[in-house]
Amino acid sequence: MLRNVTEYAKEGKPLKLISPLFLVLIFLLLSSTQVSADSSLTISDISSNKNEEIIPSQENEPLPDPSKEPEEKPDDDLGDITEEEGEEEVVQIADPLYPWNKTMYHFNDKLYFWLMKPLAQGYSAVVPEDIRLSVSNFFDNITTPIRFVSNLFQLKIKDAGNELFRFLYNSTAGVCGLADAAKMDFDIRKKDEDLGQTLGSYGIGHGIYLIWPFLGPSSLRDTVGRVGDYFLNPVHYINPTETAVGITVYDRVNETSFRIGDYEDLKKSAIDPYVSIRDAYVQHRKKKVED
């Protein structure tokens, strides 16, 4: 499994990675007109998937059920609920690439349990939390360009200024960004912004749901954002590429070391983890765009 990653690392030259990405994007843009026609696929696929105990594939009770036609009793409380539900607006995303996404979901699931989790567990057993936090701060600091540019593009001038200040202050007083001195001394906190959110702030919708191997849940819009973020991330300009990918993997392992158990909990609490994660992704990104 480890060899797989190093192989991936060796192949991972930026251009090689990106050109198929663009091809896929173009394909998706072209095919997005079929979204509504395809979306019925999702539901039928779910019922026929072999997803263990979650959806038992016993004879489905036919839909026409006495309970389906409720007695027409006007229920005040219920009327109230539907009213408020409308205000809460259910966020949804088209998933015409369900077969691909489901495959990638399983791939990432295995990637986590077989590789990332053991790596992160071993790593955090050896490396004390304070050092892991410093590493995390360091990576946050060098990815400032993503947040700075995203803020600027959203005309969040004050936030952009904050990011610039944080970078200068943390790089000096925070010793190369190892400490988040700007947060400790001035309570100026990192504001997580990226180009996907920037596009969202322009009113651009997700398009469709897309899960990428290694990278996890995304959407058409956020994938375009991620490609932009890629070029704004200084790590990707390191030569040779092997080193850049190695650093990226290390960053991921370090981040994962803080989150061991989160994914397990999510899976445990979900009735259908795939749908739960898809919904959580959309809700979470919506909140980030609004912030």
């Binding site: 059920d65 408020e84 949804q92 009735i271 259908d272 979470h284 909140k287």
Partner: protein
């Protein structure tokens, strides 16, 4: 005339007083419950694996008072709620509750020393309020909001929003998917299996 003004002022005072006295009640209510849970978690007499069960039982007791599971269930199912017969609704509430408790109590028990800040209240509607809190961990600040509803003078939680992800919306999307090609009984069956009560 003077009398009228005085009675008018009295009336206004009487009308306003309860309102201002109630401002902050949702937040205080949620905080009270959260503090009780924290007390259980910090109770040094309940240390060790053997005491975990007692801890969980105590937390379950608080959750019973803190959450309005009926409201939570109805809002989760949304439009689909009326497809359930009364006894199916009752069973749904019980199963959903046991799944939620099972999933989240483990997580709460593993809580360490994070600080919880109660930020503010944000009115959502006439009888619903959002209590915004932040959990400060060494790694990051996690925003958690409790949405509470007032019923018979009591504020109880019907939704929890963690980093923008609403619990009931998340389950709604899952249940809607299942109910799209299954009857309520089919969903209940899935839940029974999940809750280990098949």
């Amino acid at each position: 005339m003077g009398k009228n003004i005085i009675s008018l002022i009295l009336l206004i005072v009487l009308l306003i007083a309860p309102v201002s006295a109630h401002a902050g009640v949702p937040l205080e209510t949620v905080k009270g419950h959260v503090d009780k849970v924290l007390d259980v978690l910090r109770d040094t007499s309940l240390k060790g694996e053997s005491m975990k069960k007692i801890k969980k039982e105590k937390i379950r007791f608080v959750s019973e008072k803190m959450f309005d599971y009926a409201e939570l269930s109805r809002r989760t199912l949304g439009q689909n709620w009326i497809r359930f017969k009364p006894e199916q609704q009752q069973e749904f509430i019980e199963l959903y509750k046991s799944i939620l408790e099972g999933a989240y109590i483990d997580r709460i028990v593993s809580y360490t020393d994070e600080k919880i800040i109660f930020n503010k209240e944000n009115p959502l509607s006439e009888k619903t309020v959002e209590v915004q809190t932040t959990i400060i961990t060494k790694k990051a600040d996690i925003p958690i909001s409790y949405r509470v509803i007032r019923k018979e003078g009591e504020w109880r939680v019907y939704d929890v929003v963690i980093e923008g992800v609403s619990l009931i919306s998340n389950y709604r999307s899952q249940f809607a998917q299942i109910l799209a090609n299954k009857s309520p009984e089919g969903l209940l069956d899935t839940l029974r299996k999940k809750a280990g009560k098949a």
